[in-house]
């Protein structure tokens, strides 16, 4: 069923009894042209683009639990492309462009809101850093503006400009903003399903069948599948899958935390982040403040971060925005993010023919969902990277052509 104002009105009159399920729950077949492991945003997007752009529809997406139940449904929903390196600018800015037209393409309300994103500077070093970043962004054709503390105050009237963390200026990206994260998984799932893709939930991949260096099948908790093309988009779990296929990935799993407050009346219509004090703040359409924190340093799969990180982010938020001092936090959670040595993702072929990866996005993969999925689909369909993903090969760790966003992606690591 195509969603429109007309179908909404019709279903409202008929009592909302006839909405079809957004996707099927098909029986898994014993053979597919391609299998994608991981039913998060990237995996579902890859399946959708395989069908739409490459005409490959005999595809299964295997999800260990439920689709969008991992980091896709657990992030702070922010989109931006304020990166330093040209490879990153190309990748993330393409994603911002794609988000702009995706709702119409998928016929699904993703609540795309390019509301503006401020990256605050609190000291001389920060000012130099955002200056350098802004110029890099100009050079790469990405929108960036350096603004004054007074202009910051226009965006966020209740910010404290002269407290312990004085605001000396900010880097503004007007095209930055937020998107409803669950809707991204659902929208891609629905669109992929309508093109004939099988989404298999509660299906764990337990191994690979590999013959003379080529993949010929996948072992799952629901039985074996014959296929000669496999895309892995399983975030940090990709290392475990890679090990089962006999190769290693330069990824470590670390916890990243976020908080959500009680709902408030609308007070903040932009995203504000701050490198030095690591306050990462926006207000959802439900009225909750969504606050992102930093990662713990050590490997952890516990989906729980250190309390000192919570304390750091809360103290920074209260110092900058004293108006929130009486606010109560409703939820706090940790996700497991897949961090690479240069903080840039892997969109790459692997030592096994026919196995491709789209992982290692670390703390910022959500914003790149369309572009990651499209690049993975291109690689699965053609056995070659597209122009955006070519620099993101695993080979860069052997040639030295790193894409270093370690200190450069807009948040402190």
């Amino acid at each position: 069923m195509r969603y429109s104002a007309f179908t909404l009105a019709r279903e409202a009159i008929l009592g909302h009894k006839n909405w079809p399920k957004m996707w099927r729950s098909p029986e898994m077949k014993s053979s597919y042209d391609a299998v994608i492991i991981g039913g998060g945003g990237h995996g579902l997007a890859a399946a959708y683009y395989l069908a739409k752009l490459h005409g490959i529809t005999n595809v299964a997406v295997l999800e260990k639990s439920w689709i969008g139940g991992g980091n896709t449904g657990r992030n702070t929903t922010v989109i931006r492309s304020n990166y330093l390196q040209k490879e990153s600018a190309a990748l993330y800015d393409e994603a911002i462009d794609m988000w702009g037209t995706l709702e119409n393409e998928l016929n699904f309300n993703l609540m795309v809101s390019p509301r503006g994103l401020l990256h605050l500077a609190h000291n001389t070093h920060d000012m130099q850093e955002i200056g350098r970043r802004a110029h890099a962004m100009y050079m790469h054709g990405v929108d960036a503006e350096l603004i004054t503390p007074e202009q910051v105050k226009d965006w966020i009237p209740f910010i404290r400009l002269n407290g312990r963390f004085p605001v000396m200026g900010a880097l503004l990206q007007r095209r930055g903003g937020t998107i409803r994260h669950d809707a991204v998984a659902w929208g891609y799932a629905r669109a992929a399903d309508s093109l004939g893709i099988d989404i298999i939930q509660n299906c764990d991949v337990t191994g690979f069948q590999i013959e003379s260096g080529k993949v010929v099948g996948v072992e799952t908790s629901k039985g074996p599948i014959r296929t000669n093309r496999v895309g892995i988009a399983a975030a940090a779990h990709s290392t475990e899958l890679a090990e089962k296929a006999g190769f290693r990935l330069p990824i470590e799993a670390v916890p990243l935390q976020a908080l959500v407050s009680d709902p408030l009346k609308p007070v903040m219509d932009c995203v504000a982040l701050s490198n030095t004090v690591h306050a990462y703040l926006s207000q959802s359409d439900k009225g909750e403040l969504v606050i992102g924190g930093g990662t713990d340093p050590q490997i952890s799969w516990g989906q729980r971060g250190g309390f000192f990180e919570v304390e750091n982010m809360i103290s920074a938020v209260l110092e900058l925005y004293p108006i929130f001092s009486k606010l109560r936090m409703m939820r706090q959670w940790g996700g497991t993010v897949d961090v690479t040595p240069d903080r840039s993702p892997l969109i790459s072929k692997t030592p096994v023919d026919g196995i491709y990866v789209d992982c290692g996005w670390g703390t910022g993969g959500f914003k790149a969902t369309p572009v990651g999925g499209r690049s993975l689909a291109h690689m699965i369909a053609t056995d070659r990277p597209d122009h955006l993903s070519a620099p993101y090969s695993i080979d860069r760790y052997f040639t030295g052509a790193l894409i270093d966003e370690g200190s450069a992606s807009a948040v402190a690591h």
Partner: protein, 99 residues
């Protein structure tokens, strides 16, 4: 938050320590004989287990000395810590299961 056991100072909050990644990675003894692939593996590739992990920590706001620690990456259970050069009882395969 972890309670880490510095072999010299005893148990302290994690905030006193800095993390140094996977332990027991030896620098290649004959560097010139190593290929680019070997160097890439040595510099960038690390274990990412769901289970016990031997890792390096430094007591940055205490004695500032490095030590090794064995910790479970799912439960955060700490099996023990030991000084550089010391050996620590290896885990049996049964103990190294994911849960």
């Amino acid at each position: 938050m972890l309670l880490l056991d510095c072999p010299w100072c005893g148990k302290r909050d994690q905030t006193e320590f800095s993390y140094g990644g996977e332990a027991h990675i030896d620098r290649p003894i004959k560097p010139v004989e190593k290929s680019d692939s070997d160097w890439g593996q040595y510099v960038f590739f690390r274990a990412n287990p769901k289970g016990y992990h031997r890792e390096r920590w430094m007591h940055a706001q205490g004695c500032r000395r490095w030590f090794n620690l064995m910790r479970h990456t799912v439960t955060n259970e700490i099996k023990g810590s030991y000084k550089p050069g010391e050996t620590f009882p290896p885990v049996s395969p049964k103990e190294n299961q994911n849960d």
